[in-house]
């Protein structure tokens, strides 16, 4: 399978009042076409920024210091805003955010917004466009499509809005979807419905998904590979099975063991001492070393390189 997205040594910082935030520091990420790739990390680790870089929606104070973001071999970092708008956004890469309400226009009905999205793709007869819209809404398993079309965003629940967003995105037929915490604001039962829709897409289309979340459990339901991010770097990338059953990086291990699951007890849960570092003057060397039980002197000096320790299993740790 070909790689659809390759991020190479991406370093990115933000200028803020308090100093330079080293948000991303040498991120490597490969996403295979047609795969569902999970990107997991805690608040402020840079996972959302990685997604925004791919779609060219970074804030003005972001500065890309080095690296490449190759989408089908083309470096997106060299794209102008115009090129992004014409060639990438919506057309090739679509993004779904945590808060679907902010992505839908409150003054237009679902029908109008869906038609607009479909029309952007190809100009066809009105009748057939409407048919396409209905097909799309059926595809994301929205019930009672006819009455839904006449509704406005505020009349829909969060889960329905999120599914309308997916339908809208499908209307433009992109090759890749970046989903940034799409179910964090939803209830579990609604989240399950949403994940089911994604699973169906996975089985029926060749869509690539980069699924960004802090919830590892969600990833295991749908993803093929997972990259674990900590303080602006990717510390481990592996198949979902390996991340769970054979985690290598000390952070991944702790993370996997701190997740509440069906057989967890208070004693079985591991805790990570300390808290996530601020990225203004982050710890030198491996950024996890102040919280790591296995850390040695070297860890505070040397930035760990990415090593392949098994088939498609990459780890950035000096102790491995």
């Amino acid at each position: 399978m070909a790689k659809i997205l390759e991020i190479r040594d991406l370093k990115l910082s933000f200028e803020t009042e308090e100093g330079t935030v080293e948000a991303l520091d040498g991120v490597y990420l490969d996403v295979e076409e047609g795969h569902f790739h999970g990107l997991i990390g805690e608040t402020g680790c840079g996972k959302s920024i990685t997604g925004l870089t791919v779609i060219g929606l970074l804030d003005n104070n972001a500065r890309i210091e080095r690296g490449e973001v190759l989408f089908r071999g083309k470096d997106l970092l060299k794209f102008t805003e115009r090129q992004f708008q014409r060639e990438i956004r919506g057309k090739e890469v679509a993004m779904v955010f945590q808060d679907p309400a902010s992505s839908l226009d409150p003054v237009f009905s679902i029908k109008d917004q869906m038609l607009e999205a479909v029309r952007l793709n190809k100009k066809e007869e009105k009748q057939s466009n409407e048919r396409i819209v209905k097909e799309l809404l059926n595809k994301v398993k929205l019930p009672d499509v006819e009455s839904l079309l006449e509704k406005y965003p505020h009349q829909l629940s969060g889960g329905m809005k999120q599914r309308v967003m997916i339908a809208m995105m499908l209307g433009r037929n992109p090759s890749m979807l970046i989903a940034d915490e799409p179910t964090t604001a939803l209830d579990v039962s609604i989240q399950a419905q949403f994940l089911r829709v994604l699973m169906d897409l996975k089985n029926t289309t060749n869509l690539t998904v980069l699924y960004i979340t802090h919830n590892l459990a969600v990833l295991t339901e749908i993803c093929d590979e997972v990259s674990v991010m900590y303080a602006g770097r990717i510390v481990e990338t592996a198949s979902i099975g390996d991340v769970f059953n054979n985690p290598s990086h000390p952070y991944t291990r702790k993370l996997v063991n701190s997740i509440l699951r069906a057989d967890s007890t208070l004693d079985s849960l591991e805790e990570i001492p300390g808290s996530v570092p601020r990225l203004i003057n982050p710890p030198p060397g491996c950024r996890f070393h102040p919280r790591c039980e296995e850390a040695v002197d070297e860890c505070s000096r040397v930035i760990p390189p990415v090593k392949e320790i098994g088939t498609n299993h990459l780890v950035a740790c000096l102790r491995r």
Binding site: T16, E17, E18
Partner: protein, 303 residues
């Protein structure tokens, strides 16, 4: 047991002393943030200049602001009179410097007057809600539909002209702005988790107002005062200009503009310099207000 307690206490004292050494005070942090904002710093310097002038006006000029000199009427700026003289031969610069005092005095009094009424009514209205809130807010609506200047002129017409009446007229309308701002701030604080938390530990109503709501409203109030100060200055100058405020011969910027109006073509320096003085002061306060708004809120991390 008591020994252990004492040990805990000693340890705490040591801990805190160590931390205090490493840490700067909250006020200092506010100042650091304020200082980073260039315009705010410029505003601060401008207001300092105004304050300095008001305090030391007599030392800064050899002239008396009220001494007329019939032989030197409407003289253009020269080495003796840097900003020229007015229609009665008084030194314009001197009157300008002394005018600072009146301007600040009126500004401060107006802000104090309207601020006290507005903030306290805003607190009551916001915290207690219900009937009190309805009455206060309807009163605000009514008063805000009055044109300030005409109201002030009416008051002057009834009670006579003078500084006090300017302040009263301004205050009667001006407090509404404070009340509205403070009320909406309090409404949002009242709904906050930390106020509910305060109730859950058994805080009394008075304590909730004093310890939770007021300290969190304070930054809003301070910023409001800084923003309302220039409004008060402009309004009082306007009233003086219209002849209902400060009366001649008092050295006041508004009346200086008014007096200079008749000689605008022959002696433009009279009105212009007074106008610039108003602008300078107003700008200074506005810059500070904006800077303070950003500096006082540690939660807003601006990019």
């Amino acid at each position: 047991m008591s020994d252990r307690d004492q040990a805990l206490l000693d340890e705490a004292v040591k801990d805190i002393a160590r931390l205090k050494k490493q840490r700067s005070s909250q006020l200092y942090l506010v100042w650091l943030r304020f200082k980073k904002n260039r315009l705010a710093l410029v505003g601060f310097i401008m207001v300092c200049i105004v304050l300095f002038v008001a305090a030391f006006a007599p030392l800064l000029t050899p002239y008396d602001p009220y001494e007329t000199d019939p032989f030197n009427r409407l003289k253009a700026p020269s080495r003796d009179h840097w900003l020229g003289t007015d229609e009665l031969g008084r030194d314009v610069l001197t009157r300008l410097l002394y005018g600072t005092r009146i301007a600040l005095l009126i500004g401060v009094l107006i802000v104090l007057f309207e601020g006290t009424i507005g903030i306290s009514l805003g607190i009551f209205s916001g915290f207690f809600g219900g009937v009190i809130d309805s009455i206060v807010m309807r009163l605000v609506d009514v008063l805000r539909s009055f044109p300030v200047i005409i109201l002030a002129m009416a008051i002057a017409g009834i009670m006579g002209q003078g500084i006090m009446n300017v302040i009263i007229a301004m205050g009667i309308v001006g407090w509404t702005t404070y009340a509205r701002m403070v009320r909406s701030k309090i409404l949002s604080i009242k709904e906050s988790d930390y106020v509910e938390a305060a109730r859950s530990i058994g805080e009394s109503k008075a304590s909730i107002i004093l310890r939770y709501i007021l300290p969190n409203t304070l930054p809003t109030a301070i910023v409001m005062v800084c923003i309302m100060m220039p409004t008060a200055l402009i309004a009082s100058s306007t009233l003086s200009f219209l002849g209902v405020g400060v009366q001649p011969p008092t050295a006041d910027w508004g009346s200086m503009i008014s007096a200079g109006r008749d000689y605008l073509l022959d002696a433009p320096w009279i009105s212009t310099s007074a106008g610039l003085a108003i602008m300078f002061t107003v700008l200074g306060f506005n810059f500070i207000g904006d800077g303070l708004r950003d500096a006082l809120d540690p939660t807003i991390k601006r990019a």
